[in-house]
């Protein structure tokens, strides 16, 4: 969370980043960190309940949803691109709130988080929320190389420093770009909303299988792999023990699952408010 909070400041435009308010003091950072932990505990609350309980706002409120995404992404994935995404969402929410109004916003958030109804909803959510430790983080090659090199050179302490260093370096913009807006990392430029992946231009991928409904699309193995890889970008695994596969949340608010059946091949189940509710992509 410290890295996400640091990254959120770095993700702001240069003009804002240099302001006094953007230099979050230790107390503000500590409060923000504690609140983000609490918000992430509420990950199993539905969005409307989350927005209402924690912020007194509507489900479509960008601040509430931005902070929800930031807190959950930071908690559920150890991947650098996920942490960077969490930092971007946190930065966006803080900008919308206004850095000068952030302390008052945090005051209000703390009061709301401690209300009996919020605590009850939190307790219910905590009972089923996937713990970060239950998900094995996936680190890209550069982290592994950094860790390995440090391991050779400096033992355990070096390993830890290298791992943190790689993550922080990837979260923060390069110093040479400090005067301008932080450059958009390559992984962000590649991100495509789910609807653009499975229905580019409003036309669903693949073809209708047999005499099924239009929502059930079949594609070739090569197309399927491409679609799957695009959807997995910046996707965060979500625990759904009664789902016959692995379920993921995406930053655009959509979700999808991948199921593999020995008998029926691989299927992606898509849940996106911009698509029909029962959208499926099946590999031929």
């Amino acid at each position: 969370l410290d890295a996400v909070i640091n990254g959120s400041v770095a993700a702001m435009p240069a003009a804002l980043r240099g302001s006094a308010e953007a230099r979050l003091d230790a107390r503000t950072r500590a409060r923000l960190k504690a609140l983000m932990t609490t918000w992430s505990d509420g990950g199993n609350m539905d969005r409307a309940e989350f927005a209402g309980q924690f912020f007194g706002r509507a489900v479509d409120d960008p601040v509430a949803m931005g902070l929800r995404t930031a807190a959950l992404t930071a908690r559920l994935s150890g991947r650098q691109d996920a942490l960077r995404d969490a930092a971007e969402h946190l930065a966006g929410a803080m900008r919308t709130v206004g850095l000068d109004r952030l302390p008052r916003f945090l005051d209000d958030a703390e009061v709301r988080a401690n209300q009996p109804s919020t605590r009850a909803a939190l307790e219910k959510s905590r009972q089923t929320l996937v713990q970060r430790d239950a998900i094995r983080p996936v680190y890209p090659l550069e982290t592994a190389l950094g860790v390995a090199a440090a391991g050779v050179a400096g033992g355990v302490v070096g390993v830890a420093r290298a791992a943190v260093g790689v993550i922080v370096r990837q979260l923060l913009p390069k110093s040479s770009n400090i005067a301008g807006r932080a450059p958009v990392p390559p992984s962000l430029t590649k991100f495509q909303p789910t609807r653009d992946v499975v229905a580019p231009g409003g036309r669903p991928v693949g073809a209708v299988a047999g005499r099924t409904n239009g929502n059930f699309r079949t594609v070739s193995p090569a197309e399927f792999t491409t679609i799957k890889d695009k959807l997995l970008q910046r996707a965060t695994p979500v625990k759904k023990p009664r789902y016959d596969g692995t379920w993921y949340q995406r930053p655009d608010g959509s979700a999808f699952g991948i199921r593999t059946s020995q008998k029926n091949g691989v299927t992606i189940d898509v849940s996106d408010p911009n698509l029909p509710p029962n959208f499926k992509v099946h590999q031929k």
Partner: protein, 123 residues
Amino acid sequence: MSSQPVHSFFGTPLDEWIECTPNELEFDAIGLWQIIPDLRKSFGLSGDALEHATREVLTKILDRGAHPIVGSFDKPGTWERVTKYGENSIDIVNAIVAEWCTIDRNPDVEDVWFGLPRFYDAD
């Protein structure tokens, strides 16, 4: 001219949608999360119309030999049969309609699906 609702995304008339939905069993299990939310959102159904359409499509799915199933908690990646809704189609449809059509929440992918025996036997 028919005045029946059409699918907001695909333009499929409701009768045709109901008729074609069970065909998916040839390829995959069908989740209740696919049925009720689509009837609500894509066809704009609610109340008696929602209940009627849900009954129709579930009956057709069960008539194809499908059974209620859910992802196995003990063996991830496999299905297990659900027996709490009863054994015959009428009881199953009544129980599911009673459970789901009268509440605001839509079924989720963790809720009941329908699959042929080969789905949960093969896996």
